[in-house]
Amino acid sequence: MQFYRSHVLVCAGTGCHASGSAELKEALTVELRRQGLSHEVKVIDTGCFGFCRFGPNMMVYPEGVLYTGITAADVPEVVSEHFLKGRVVQRLLYVEPETQSRLVDFEEIPFFHKQQRIVLANCGLINPESIDEYVARDGYVALGTALTRMTPAEVIETLKRSGLRGRGGAGFPTGVKWEFTAKAPGSPKYVVCNADEGDPGAFMDRSTLEGDPHAVLEGMAIAGYAIGANRGYIYVRAEYPIAVQRLNIAIDQARKQELLGKDLFGTGFAFDVELRLGSGAFVCGEETALLASIEGRRGEPRPRPPFPAQRGLWGKPTVINNVETLANIPPIIRNGGEWFASIGTETSKGTKVFALAGDIINNGLVEVPMGTSLGDIVYDIGGGIPDGKRFKAAQTGGPSGGCIPAGFLNTPIDYESLQRLGTIMGSGGLIVMDQDTCMVDLAKFFLEFVQDESCGKCAPCRIGTKRMLEILTRITRGEGREGDTDLLIELGESIKASALCGLGQSAPNPVLSTIRYFRDEYDAHIRDKRCPASVCAALFTAPCTNSCPAGVDVPIYLDLVRAGKFREAYLKVKEANPLPIVCGRVCNHPCEARCRREQLDAPLAIRELKRFAADQVLSTEGKLPSPAAGAGTGRRVAVIGSGPAGLTAAYYLTLKGHRVTVFEALPQAGGMLAVGIPAYRLPRSVLEAEIKSLQSMGIEFRLKTQYGKDVTAESLARDGYEATLLAIGAHRDQKLGIPDEDSLGVLPAAAFLRRVALGDAPSLPGKRVVVVGGGNAAIDAARTAWRLLAREVEIVYRRRREDMPAQDEEVEAALEEGVKLTTLLNPTGVTLSGRNVTGLDCDEMVTADFDGSGRRRTVPSGQKRHVAADLVIAAIGQGPDVHGVPEAALGPRGLVAVSGMGATALPGLFAAGDCVTGPATVIEAVAAGKSVAAAIDRYLGGDGVLAQNPVERTLSAPIIEDLLKREHSQHLPCRERIGNFSEVELGYDAQAACREAARCLRCDAKS
């Protein structure tokens, strides 16, 4: 009888049969035969295992391994791994869903992993209404120890050694404060707990009082012992009813257990606590105002000194500590000052609790060691920014603090670092803001708050902040005046210097700090009457239009599409952007990211609708219309380069009546549109139609004419051109900067794409292509190589996927086509066989701290890897080819330098687009072309006004507020894309376009 070393039982029950067990068995038999194992492994049909839900199932004996959900595709792996090498394929194993195998310890959850909980150690674990549970976790041991084994001086000494600083915001050393109070003459003395938490978005103290009230009581009793006080007050907001209730319960329980009251621990020391409810005035968080309020007087601050340590409550020496400070006391007494001092930084010891609020995924309460970086809090603990948006800034210290922009994510959170950045630790509010936040509006919000809360006792705070608010209000209404920003700074500084109390002295901080880091936004509001974040409603008609660099009037043309008026829609777009059919395909659509419909269901497909309207016009008329050229001025302008910036400038200059000639070095017009963006994204016929529409206005194109060679500044002047625009783009590839990169088989991306576009594609069939880089050029190169029948295409990128600058939809499409993406890999050298490339030596990278753009930097992990390649495409950035550009027009970083609206240092010579900014988007090039056209027109004596036709903003059809799905256009199936450059996106049909356009909420129609 044949001996089989292994029996494989394949389930042939009805359930598994339906999920493909017959194919599985067939594949298994074939594969075992192929690998020569059919005499050793026997395949047997068996009945139902009862795991039909996870089928097809397969049991392997003698090991008794159960594979579930196994398909014919898994068979080669199972045969070669398990049957040949004896290694169980873990990923196909059955996982007991009801077992604990997937449960992890709490500390392993990312949210808790980087936290260290001292103050919050009990919060969320014990029942706050049970003193037994507090005692079970060492509660009141610190009080007992202090009373029975330490002198008051020793308690203060321990505190001083711990380095604990006040958690209310100012960070005064707690031990020193206690010492002052202990030594101050006068009796009785008092302990006051400041629980008047008032910063917007802050709730650290509330949660501590609600979750662990006894810790605060114990801390107060220890403070009482240290300074010689027998009575304590907790000043807590009446708006915190749960905290008040739990404090009352805790006080009752502590009294019953004689942990508050007379003769504690048999030492004769007496201490008791009373609550005082505050009515929610922000100023009562200021210690002198708080004391006044406890005494029953109006909550107004008074000048210090004398400090409360000398003359506090009822004129007696008083310690005032914040909730979090007091909650730190028991663990410090239990574990010693040295233990606490071992946590944190040189000058800031221990941990800090933060209330994470705003645009952050894990909204909540976190406690981290001092010195933890802001980036770690926002990304590792906070989970990052929702909806894939970018981090813009974080506000610490509430209305008394300031903001920290993305460039400072590495800042360690401690008192001094924050002060250096112009903000304060504050009590722990941490408001995270994403890219959609307007910093001027933010400053106004905090100033409104301070204005409301100012007690009015001193003039700087009462009147000064009022004046500041008036200025901010007029700025956000588009009525800002030149010099307003400096006026705000001057006012702010003098309020800081002259206000009576902390509230007033810190009130200007949010304004001063946003001016410090975001002055350009103030300038945009004041000079351009523009709110870049589309928040200040008085400054724009609709957020989509406002976020379009070219200012396309989106709602109006969407309305025209909805009404079936495609020609009007196309021409409406063309008033603001001469390339609607191009942008309808390749625009990165910043408009959609700000579409208000996003808050309802999903943003409008604005780009697709623009494309649909343009396609309709082209297919019905056979060509694209353009407005007529303006009345002739007789002036001539030369535009060097026919990319989007050059075309746009030529278009607007023609509208202004100038005669424009476009000089293009390549045999095709379009610049990067023609030789950078591959045809599967932008078909050449479509591009040509749009260029022809510009030609029909009278713009002359001279191809194969290179600036600096075929024409020069002198020849142009001779030929009567009064102004020249350099719009030469950024076609020169940056080098990888690694050894042997000039070998055969290493191609720069822009050169590669240009060759393909001009019909000189390298032969790729059978080759393994590796693209280095993470931008759109890398994706374009990879997808192009895939279309040229490369055997395999892999993108290698040194950062993480979420940090790739490429558009996400492009990355998705590349992956869908089978392009491999390997992140965290950085090439260090080219490997060669003879003169041919065989691959790349790479460093495996790991994430490190944050760079100036707010993205994670990466550093080599020490591990090396070799990536095989027959062709390497380097797509790591481009710069302009400034050959022939006059020296005087050049600036830093190999770019052309311009001042103001696009004038170079040479009279009559202007520049715009990628050659000025470095590689940017098409729509940004269009915007640059517009503004430089206006500048050139003014230079030639025109008014420089590029106005759109006035429109009436009324509703032509009802707004639909029901939840509606965003329409998706058809895409060419992957298998039909191989070996050709057919367009992938197929666009809408008329019904879909109409349905989609009808989703517009018409934010522009105010009535």
């Binding site: 996982v95 449960l103 037994d132 060492d138 509330r206």
Partner: protein
């Protein structure tokens, strides 16, 4: 409290009580009742838990409360503790989920992995 020893005795008694409760009475459910939890509906969850336990005559299950654990974005949060198993934390619990957690986890011992917070990523299905 007159001496540290007395406090220590109370601590031992309290710890023993807690341990005893967790061991013999088997299951324990703790509902996060901070302001964040209550605002997100913790009271309703608590009521539905008590109701469900009542319907099932499960008098041995203890129900407790606690404060904010910090994950306010995920409230209401409940912890289910079964002897021999660790603490399982459920997030975004509503009345329906609470009833199902009792039926599946507390009664039948099957952790509802879909709603549990302390679960490894990438479940295999």
């Amino acid at each position: 409290m007159k001496t540290l020893a007395e406090l220590k005795a109370l601590k031992e008694r309290a710890s023993k009580d807690l341990a005893l409760r967790e061991q013999t009475d088997a299951q324990r459910i703790v509902v996060g009742m901070g302001t964040c939890g209550i605002a997100a509906g913790a009271r309703e969850v608590m009521l539905s838990i008590l109701d469900e336990l009542g319907k099932r005559n499960m008098s041995k299950v203890t129900v407790g409360q606690t404060g904010c654990v910090g994950l306010c974005a995920q409230e209401p949060i409940i912890d289910v503790m079964v002897p021999g198993q660790g603490r399982v934390t459920y997030t975004k619990v509503d009345e329906q989920r609470a009833r199902r957690i009792i039926a599946e986890h507390v009664v039948n011992g099957h952790v509802c992995l879909d709603w549990a917070l302390n679960v490894k990523d990438e479940p295999r299905t």
